[in-house]
Amino acid sequence: MTSEKGPDRFYINREDRKDYERLLDRDSPFRDKENKDLFIMAMAVGYTEGNKTRLKKREGFFRESYLDDRDRAIIYALAVAEKGNLNVLLDKSEVFSIAEEYAAGGIKLLKDKAFSGEYGSCARKLETELVEIFDKKIANRLRQADKTA
């Protein structure tokens, strides 16, 4: 399922590149991840915080073709949530823009999460955060979905 039209790559702010590179350093908990994984994580963080940042000086970060169906679905879901309707998916440039702006808004915070605290605390904090969201908001919805099914 590849998009036929729209941009062929995702962009980041030039000044954010070194933050992404830091996340790939040997001592980073995300050292073996790929650019697209970090981008999506940053995007998710940006969305949670409500941080959207316009790109000033942009440069290519990874190709659209590197996304798998799962990644694409997440990015589409974000764009649809942002605009409130499915029509946004007709304009892939818009979809990409939304993803890029949230990623730009979330990268610094992602970097902080990775490196603040002692070594190994990132995983613990990440786990706590995800479990809290899951317990408070997701568990119920899944139960409801089971009932209606």
Binding site: F30, I74, A77, A81, L86, N87, L90, K137
Partner: protein, 656 residues
Amino acid sequence: MWIDYIKLKNFRQYKDEKITFAPPEKDKNFTVLQGANGSGKTNLVNAITWCLYGEELRSDKKYEGLPIYNTAAFEELELGEKCEVEVEIQMIEASGHKMLLTRSQEFRKLEQLSASSDKSTFTMMRLLGREWTNVIDPSYVLSRLIPKSIERYFFFDGERLDDYFKKATGEDIKEAVFDVSQLNLLEKMIEHLTKMKSKYFSECKGLSPLAEELRQKLQIRQRSLKEGMEQLGTSKKERDEAEEKEEEYSRKLKAASISDIRKLEEDRSQLEKDMRTLEDQIESYESEKLDLLVAFHPLVVLHEPLFSIKELISKRTEAGDIPPDYKRNFLEKLLEKRRCICGTDLSKEDEHRKQIRKAMEDCDAISDISAELITTNAKVSSMLDDLRHFQPKRIKLGKMINDLRKRRETKNRQMREIAEKIGQCDVDQIRFWDSKRLEWKGVRDEKISEIARMELKISETKNEISATEEALKKEMRKQKEYEERLEKLNFCDKSLNAARRVKDEIMANVREEVEDRTRKEFFDLIWKKETYRDVTIDDNYNVSVMHQSGRHARGTLSAGERQVLALAFMAALNSVSGFDVPIIIDTPLARLSSEPKKNIAMNLPNYLKGKQVTLLVTEEEYTREVRERLANRVGREHLISFKETGIGNLAKVVPL
């Protein structure tokens, strides 16, 4: 390649001897030369290395300091007369071609026992057809056949082998594998390409002030990297040495006269190894857990948008918009083409065209991406389903990690208890050894941390160098006259990456292969086949032998078993080497008592099948039993008989 014969003329105790060797035929590939200590076995190996490299590479205390010419022959000379020392080796290549390698050196007698000589000369001839042809640049050709740097892996000293293996660290083993598989060529290429890059960058003087600044930064960082790598090498050696020292004191404790202490130390060694395994397992599961969290992070954090898009698509599906009756762009195309799919002409603004246009306007825009929406919906459903597994997977991994941590804590506690008991032993010597063991353990642990820090720093420096190089290249791109240099730089970069990749891949393959062969040869040679379970060589090239019980046994192998491991490893090196060189083993069984000697001999026939193997043995090694056991594999057998005369020593080689 194998040795057909060696002729020695006036070389040390060999006045005029010819020794023939058994070809590497399948069953009878062994040549045995038997001689007492000092009769000439080591000097035979020296004759070979002297012929090949102009140097005697084995030391023989008896002949140290003495000139290489045969003293008896020399004695017979008149003043001013010359004595020629010559060693000729005829070798046969795998292709069947004969090669003659000859080194000779003349000595002129000046006075009693004093001589002058010119440099030795080395020639190589190949038999092509019926004619012998001189090989141009024989030293170079030889260096491609049997480089001096690796001859010790083919002509090895059985007595030294045990020492080598006892002391050999992972780095030493790695170096051996490296040299023998010619990976050093790739290393050299990488080194030289890196220097070429530096050269091209240094030629950017006067490009721009920024370029100059970057250039200097690059030089500083490159220097820093070089120093860092050197320091890393030193630290690794120091770590290995500390580990060896720690092992040494542990061995002393394991051999202590008090049986309780021996048991405690055995237990402690095993606990330490178990701890390392547990640490690895914990690290692996923690990594797996982090991967899980990273994979689920967007799903959990963006669950709202995911639920939302699923609902939206479901609603539109229920409303009949997905899949649509028509796609809008399909209808657009019909209007553009001015013909319907039924063939109706749509070029005029008539009822048909109006109907199509209306249908198009009624069509929802999303009709064009309906296929994508259907796929997205399916994918989102599947992800939301996956979310159900988040907690169970997370909890399961967490439990496994906790269990391992508990086991680690138990073992830690047990180790502390042992440390206390040994520390309370009332024998001074025991307490001293224990404290030394602890001291060296401390040094080793410190070195391990130091190495980790250095590796991180080196990684950072490499990143900085890459960034600076890219910035410099960017400056070069601005000026046309640097275009060519930039191309060369890019070419170097591509080649460097390629060379590094090839090197890494081969190293991994070679290590595995050496491990497999060492294991196979070890179990072929060892007589206690049920005692040992496995032989492994890890990523750091540490060789381990595992006992059936699961314990690591390398430190407790007997001399005979260590010899077997060493012989097995040499055979493995042989198999991965890029060189087809015959094997010569000087006194393979010397240090062993009769039992292991018999046992190794029994299985030696399985060793290095298909290669020419020459054994130089003493009478004590080559007992009747050993001889009987090897009989089926021995193609040629000689006796080196030795005579001490008034004017010098003479060795004669007699076929048996």
